[in-house]
Symmetry: C2
Subunit: 530 residues, 2 copies
């Protein structure tokens, strides 16, 4: 989309803002090189992203259409940015027809020009830690509402204890071919190991169907790991991320223990965990978000300013955030895994490939193939059931229209299907489904818009990600004044924090035994700005 | 204490601030009369009170002496303002000797010049809603960390449901002699009513001893009410407050129902409850805190500004707040209740006096007798066990010294016992217990200082109350932008909020059937500024 097009559909102010951050490269590089100016620019851009919507506390949750003491405090229901709009629901087409807008035909598979396969692998692993729909009620959630690395540590201390070795601050692990991995969940006879009996592993109906098994026990020959969250073994990309972070935890624990001979297991463990959470936050901002945005300026974790902003509020994951993060269209129909081209649906719930290849090689392989592009008409068949459930979820919550959300984010309402997308197929599909552009529901509209030039996401989605992501990542108590510092993380932890900006940094430290230094990049090596 | 004395022990800046707000009466009255200036002055004074200490998130809780993810997030442990100081504990005298500093001898009972008995009755009822020590571990708590009127509604929805009539948005109640009261917990045969079987009533060991009974069942003839918190029947003052607020809830529910014929029980109930929480917050700031402070300017609930302050943070009750609010010395050894002079220890766990006198008459009676004065050497005998437990609690938490807390609040360290108190008996008592002024523990120091002229509390205590009270009351989500307004509370609720600044206002609305309009005042009618 040309800048002038964006100014027409995005509004003049938004257009000028976007123009400034996606042009003037020399200026941004000048700012980037000067610490004081760099912090000021960082604050200005992040504030600009977060203040696109009203800050928490929001008036409503998914509990009730009016505020009540339970609805304002019970976070097992989800926050919501806009009130329910029951009248709007009456104008919606059947959910099957909306679902069909997502379907990819093999001949139409669209590839991303910017993102590698590592991008969706990291995105899912990262967000499954805190965007957690309650299986019994899609309006509820099972989130801790914190970015707390529950993928690795579990959501409760009971689970954490099961995963800890309780010596030297380490997590339980095993060594296979010289590489460290999480321990197996099943023993050699295919029984759940008694030590993991209380570890939650669930296999939702959709996964059972996709994998073709009846219950968790049927997966005994798939080398499942003992991990922190129930679906932690969902696919090889998920477990390779957890393996990397487990290695880094144990590496840090050993380094902290070496420095502090008087510290007990508990203190070493907690200090390593504190450090790991900050490493994740750094990678999220400095690698992942910088990949997503089209900006010249590289954002960074600068803990100082957040505490002075009025978006610094208790976290509460919103139902819109939960829905908009379902980036199924990033997933190619076939992927190269462990040197083989495979149907993506066939890599679910199977760690054999993870334990039979060097970890670095798997990261490199995912870094050297593209993801597909986010958008309508590009979801692989095996994920269409989930698209359907997401559309139902938006309707159960009686979400306001796509255009209402655009307006709430400060964008002009779209006037026609042609405003929404530059692609004829998308326009036609929308027109076949909705009577007017005002009838488009949020989930469809988010994916219908064009991906912004040089970005990884469409406009409204990128905007709404920024609102909820920064206002719930930079509020982490570990980044707060008086907490963020060497005294909290130990010298070894503080050194690791200073030395980490990208997944590559963590991978380098944990694949030293491999024959060559592997690549870890979310951005294709061949990508260059247009 | 003269102003010049305060400037010596309190520091020049603090002294000038205090001088300004306790003098210049015409200036403050001028500001008070002009809405814009009034808001600005209100913000300035409240910010000045809250920013005396570092704002949340604090580095430590009572969980561990270093920050960990659990310690930063698990609010069943208490927040703490200063780190533990194990070395300081070694300098402390036996706890019995510190406890003896609190003991009142009958000949020494000191009376307040400012506060009525209604002041401690309201203070205890108000704070027991959110300052809740875990009986199994004094370093833990059972608080929701919100000012949520749990005294009336319970801490969980299970309890709330038991207390609701489930029709017309009302709480269950009974009428006795034309007055409305909470329902009885026991039936006429002395058995717990089945509907209240799940309601938590606990009788701690200290209460059992004081009342001379073995178990809750022994209280069957004392007309206990079904109330929201386990110790809700602790004494007549507590249940008379709950009765008043129950009447107001049901009055509001009826008014809201009359306005909104289409609303169901749930919506009426929640709207009345939302309103009631705000009424409590208004009374706390505009009646209670204005009683405590010596200022000319009358603070008020002005929801707008709090959201822009960096003290607007998720609530977390601190162990220091829990301890400093134990104002046992405000309780006279004998009180006039229902027209009789009684030992205060004899009014515990007995509602007979509440149901046999008009509610307004009880409020008036408590408004026409003084409380005793807060401070050392003035705790009635029957409360000394609790003083001892509080001293133990401070030591279990390894709290820093009194002088360290003064310093953390921006006050100079006291240099001698004579600096602490102008009273010879207090100086001598301190000197007999501690080797130096630097050895005084926080709980003792808080009560050793002189009550400020024209105030209800000593200096450090008043300061620390201000820090935690405002930063956890004005963060209530019901006061937030977009929530605080008629749309949330209904016309009837909004009208009640506008018409409420003092307990007197609520009492007037709920004692119309009594023969004369009763008095409700925290400040003695004869009090005048010195």
């Amino acid at each position: 989309m040309l800048q002038s097009d964006f100014m027409r559909t995005g509004g003049v102010t938004n257009g000028l803002q976007l123009w400034a951050v996606t042009h003037l490269g020399p200026l941004w590089r000048f700012l980037q090189a000067r610490p004081g100016l760099r912090s000021a620019a960082n604050r200005l851009i992040i504030d600009g992203m977060v203040y696109k919507m009203k800050t928490r506390p929001d008036r409503l949750s998914t509990m009730s259409p009016y505020p009540s003491w339970p609805s304002l405090t019970n976070r097992t229901f989800s926050d919501r940015h806009l009130p329910p709009d029951p009248a709007f629901q009456l104008r919606l087409p059947p959910a099957d027809r909306a679902t069909a807008l997502f379907e990819r035909s093999d001949s139409q598979e669209r590839w991303s020009h910017k993102s590698t396969l590592l991008f969706p692998l990291f995105a899912q692993w990262f967000t499954d830690g805190f965007l957690r729909t309650d299986a019994t009620n899609p309006l509820k959630n099972t989130s801790t509402h914190d970015i707390d690395l529950s993928e690795l540590y579990g959501q409760t201390e009971d689970v954490t204890r099961v995963l800890r070795s309780m010596t030297g601050g380490r997590l339980k692990s095993q060594v296979i071919d010289g590489g460290e991995y999480p321990p197996y969940y099943f023993d050699d006879e295919g029984n759940v190991k008694p030590e993991f009996a209380k570890l939650p592993i669930t296999l939702p109906a959709g996964d059972r169907k996709a994998v073709g098994v009846q219950e968790v026990g049927d997966l005994a020959n798939r080398k499942l790991f003992a991990l922190g969250i129930p679906r932690g073994n969902i696919h090889y990309g998920f477990t390779m991320m957890s393996t990397l972070f487990l290695r880094e935890h144990n590496r840090l624990a050993d380094a902290i223990a070496a420095e502090h001979s008087s510290w007990d297991d508990e203190r070493i463990f907690q200090t390593a965990r504190d450090t790991m959470i900050v490493l994740l936050l750094k990678v999220v901002v400095e690698d992942y978000i910088n990949h997503i945005t089209p900006y010249y300026f590289k954002l960074f974790v600068d803990p100082g300013f957040a505490g002075r902003e009025r978006w610094y509020r208790q976290n509460w994951m919103s139902i819109e955030f939960n829905m908009l993060y379902r980036w199924h269209s990033l997933v190619p129909s076939r992927v190269r895994v462990g040197g083989q081209d495979r149907d993506t649906g066939s890599v679910l719930w199977d760690n054999n490939v993870v334990v039979s290849h060097p970890l670095g090689a798997l990261f490199e392989e995912a870094s050297r193939q593209p993801s597909t592009e986010i958008g309508l008409l590009n979801t692989p068949t095996f994920l269409l059931d989930i698209e359907r459930r997401t559309i139902d979820m938006g309707r159960d919550a009686a979400l306001a229209s796509y255009n209402d959300y655009r307006q709430a984010c400060g964008y002009p309402r779209m006037q026609s299907f042609a405003d929404v997308s530059s692609r004829a197929a998308v326009r036609a599909a929308l027109a076949s489904c909705y009577r007017s552009v005002n009838d488009i529901e949020l989930y469809v509209g988010l994916f219908a818009e064009d991906v912004r030039p040089n970005a990884a996401l469409p406009t409204l989605m990128g905007t709404m990600v920024g609102v909820d992501a920064f206002s719930q990542a930079l509020t982490n108590p570990l980044l707060a004044d008086g907490i963020f510092g060497e005294r909290t993380f130990s010298a070894a932890g503080w050194q690791a924090i200073g030395a980490t900006a990208r997944l590559q940094d963590i991978l380098d430290r944990n694949t030293r035994n491999e024959s060559r230094q592997p690549l870890a990049t979310l951005t294709q090596l061949t990508w260059s700005r247009v």
